[in-house]
Symmetry: C2
Subunit: 230 residues, 2 copies
Amino acid sequence: MGPAPSILVRMRTAYHEQLEGLNTILGEMCDLAGAAMARATQALLQADLAVAEEVITDNDRMNELSARAEEQAFALLALQAPVAGDLRGIVSGFQIVADVDRMGALALHVAKVARRRHPAKALPEEVNGYFAEMGRLAVQLAQTAREVLTTQNPQDAIRLQEDDDAMDDLHRHLFTVLMDREWSHGVAAAVDVTLLGRYYERFADHAVLIGRRVVFQATGQTPEQYLEVS
Amino acid sequence: MGPAPSILVRMRTAYHEQLEGLNTILGEMCDLAGAAMARATQALLQADLAVAEEVITDNDRMNELSARAEEQAFALLALQAPVAGDLRGIVSGFQIVADVDRMGALALHVAKVARRRHPAKALPEEVNGYFAEMGRLAVQLAQTAREVLTTQNPQDAIRLQEDDDAMDDLHRHLFTVLMDREWSHGVAAAVDVTLLGRYYERFADHAVLIGRRVVFQATGQTPEQYLEVS
């Protein structure tokens, strides 16, 4: 009976090291998604083709990391016999991969609109301020998502929702500008602005989802359950 | 040593029954998503408020099933010690929950546009045909996703991609109509059409993703890997 506990301890240690490894990859993916959205916004506002191309090329790196994260999560599931709390962490890991992957894809969409309209600017001057601010919020949300992945702090994870409320407000205001009778930039620009607005909004939604999953990783509860008891 | 194999056999049987139970819930969710999109399209084309309200109310059922599916998947992970192939099935199960959940949300978005514009029609007559056909394709994709979940047939699962190509073609044509100088329905209608087109396209994308996950469930390979060796 002697060696059993020490084997268990070693298994648990190896397990937690691997789980940290997974979270490190997920954090790196959040960084990439945030950086991609920062540059995509720059490309959009300044009609900067080189920057748009960079975002598009760098997306390969996201796909690589995404594949590595899933492999790591499968290895964690398969190699040890995880306990309930660990299972939450791993399953959330898979879901976070999907969310941050999608954030990268949305930044890519923004960059592609900038490229498609180059050398013209995709955005009428009038809405530049909205997109500059939505870009800033998006990058901030990606950064907070990255931080809570590391700290596993449920309060901070829930706070992602508040930043998203600011994004939703901006998005709504943007629509009032579009719907205004004075909109003089034509239908093609309206279509671009509509889709671009949606990309930023969805980027923010996925960051919020990451926050929700971190709450579940850390507490085993949904944010609503957690707020009710705390 | 006698009883051990029989215990294992019973564990495996219970396991497979539970996995089937999970896939049954996922199939039911696909049915719901397809039915929701069928009625949302009807509400949109006919400015039918009652049908739009039905779609919105019935979304609660989707959320219930979604929660049940996740519980079932966690129970499968936690209660037995699954082997590698089983793990693929369960993890894919979690991912499919997220996809089909999103399909339901997109049908809900369509219904809400119909409700918001009622008693007016959200769509100019000119694009009705596109949306009727996109609706038909979306419902068909949800149905095929449901079938391959049950049959686990990788060839059929891959074929979802082809139906999605038809959706992408329609979506592209829709944009040429929007961008045409002759578009006479104003910016507000263009914004609605842009977002609605995006909802149908994303609905189809998620059905394709379910197909990809079924290929992985059934073969342990991505569709690309599977096609290369088969």
